[in-house]
Amino acid sequence: MTNWKVILNIARTHLVTKIKQTATAALGVTFGIGAYITLVCFMTGLNKMLDDLILNQTPHIHVFNEIEPSEKQPVDLYDELRNTFNVVHSIKPKQSQKRIHNALPIIKYLNKDPKVKGAIPQIKSQIFYISGSIELGGNLTGVDIMKEVEFFNFRDYIVKGTPQALQHNDNGVLLGAGVAKKMSLEIGDRVQISTIKGDVFPLKIVGIYQSGIADIDNVQSFTTIKTVQRILGEAENYITDINVKLHHIEQAIALAEKVEQQFKLKAIDINTANAQFETGTTIRNLITYAVSITLLIVAGFGIYNILNMLIYEKMNDIAILKATGFSGKDVQLIFMSQAMIIGVVGGVLGLLIGFGLSHLIDQLPFETEALPTITTYPINHNLWFYGIGITFAMISTFLAGYLPSQKAKKIDPVRIIRGQ
């Protein structure tokens, strides 16, 4: 049976009388944990920002109709030449539309799948922006704007104007920021666009779109699906792309495969499209933990040091305690609790400092052309980090306290008493 009250009382008294050294050791832990919290909040914030930048606006599965040569050439269908060796020169893609056949039923079908958060149509078209005598090549994509906002954070990329303005305006367009700049156009102005076939349409600028990626912003504009269908002179079921957002990104590969097989379409999943992305995340996490663990090891040595010193100074106390009936285990617990007290106090302070620093960084302005939605440094506040941080602190102080306390446990009181 362990008498914690007495043990903690003695531990506390020792620490209080050595308050400077105790504070130094605790500060070591504080520093380690504070740095961990700050770093991990910042690094994962950065990860999340980059994720948002690419992943959130990227569909988990992108379904489209790839123009490619037919696997089976007509000659293969001809029974009489089945067992012969046929050579076909200069194969051309089948004269086919970019449109997805039966797109609307497919969208309906996908939306029914419980794994799918949303499947929404897009129409991609190539157009020219006409400004006086210049023609700028570009892309005009027809979107279901409110759904894009809902599933792909589209709102973040509309730097001027509102998605609603596009929704309610039959001839509206969200003009790419680069295009707008080149042509000196502003909200409310009109822009002429021409299709590949040469038809010219005036569109009203209801907003400015900026993805942060210049190559895109220089060519890309958005309008409603209906507008594109009208410009292209296509029917209401003309859809070129389906973008799918899932509840769980991990299911993308499987579902993409299924869609490819079932509908004979091309379906690219996000993991394949952004394979290199994970690597960056992993490395940032690695840096965070490497730095934090290093700091904690240093802090651990601080604790190890002060405990060794304390035990050396308190030899007499240890001898008296043992002579008056405290067991080796009691003595070990006294010093272990000192280590743990240093760990808890230092760790909690570290959490507070980490909390403060990460919130401070969160307030620091961070503005860059490339990231229109970001105004301050990215920070990911997550309670879990605090749990991990304090666990870290406890483990490292436990390890640092264990060896010295083991030594204290083994001290032979007779040798100390004789030594006087």
Partner: protein, 224 residues
């Protein structure tokens, strides 16, 4: 009279730096209420014997009995408990925890024993301090009192759990004659009035002469 402490054929060797037979076949008894003193030349093994009797040193041959129960070979935890509950030890040097108050020092072994509430322990501790006439020092830091006072605090601490025997290793060796006298009187009173057994190593022949029995040691043996 009931035997409180008994040593049977205790032998002890130091192996370093050379093999040295320090205690040779020591056998004796201490009865309840007896005030015995141990005398002998410096280096004859008195302290060594006392450390064995107090259960702190377990590296010996022979048998040690407390209240007729064999102590030799018990688990360390058990020995700590026995020391805590049944044996009071007073050293030559005033071994107090210098950062604690006098009262806390006295209370500590009882808190460890945890048989009584803190209030009772504090009450008992004040009583012991009163017996030793140092109750006015209760709240002082242990490092801030005189040598004679420290020794009395150590005695009060040895008494706190009402042990069956108190052992002292030259408890008056560092005190002037006035303080020595004082400590002797306290011991004497405890043995007469409370039936406490005492076993005290001393160099002071006057001190020894006033005890019930003198155990003479020489060269690792009991001479008479």
């Amino acid at each position: 009279m009931k035997t409180v402490l008994e040593a049977k054929n205790i032998n002890k060797y130091f192996r370093k730096p050379v093999l040295f037979h320090v205690l040779k076949d020591i056998s004796f008894k201490v009865s309840q209420g007896e005030f015995a003193s141990i005398m002998g030349k410096s280096g004859c093994g008195k302290s060594t014997l006392l450390y064995i009797l107090s259960t702190m040193d377990t590296d010996y041959e022979g048998g040690l009995y407390l209240n007729n129960e064999l102590i030799t070979g018990q688990e360390r935890e058990k020995l700590s408990y026995i020391r805590n509950k049944h044996i009071g030890f007073v050293f030559q040097f005033h071994y107090l925890l210098s950062e604690f108050s006098v009262l806390e020092n006295v209370m500590l072994p009882a808190k460890k024993l945890a048989e009584k509430s803190i209030e009772e322990i504090e009450h008992d501790a004040m009583n012991k301090l009163r017996i030793l006439k140092i109750d006015h020092l209760a709240q002082k830091r242990a490092s801030r009192i005189s040598g004679g006072e420290k020794q009395r605090v150590a005695i009060a601490r040895a008494l706190i759990n009402d042990p069956i025997i108190i052992m002292g290793d030259e408890p008056t060796g560092n005190l002037d004659s006035y303080n020595s006298e004082n400590v002797f009187n306290v011991f004497k009173q405890l043995s007469d009035e409370e039936g406490l057994s005492l076993l005290v190593v001393t160099h002071d022949i006057d001190f020894a002469n006033k005890t019930d029995r003198i155990i003479e040691m020489g060269d690792g043996r009991i001479i008479n």
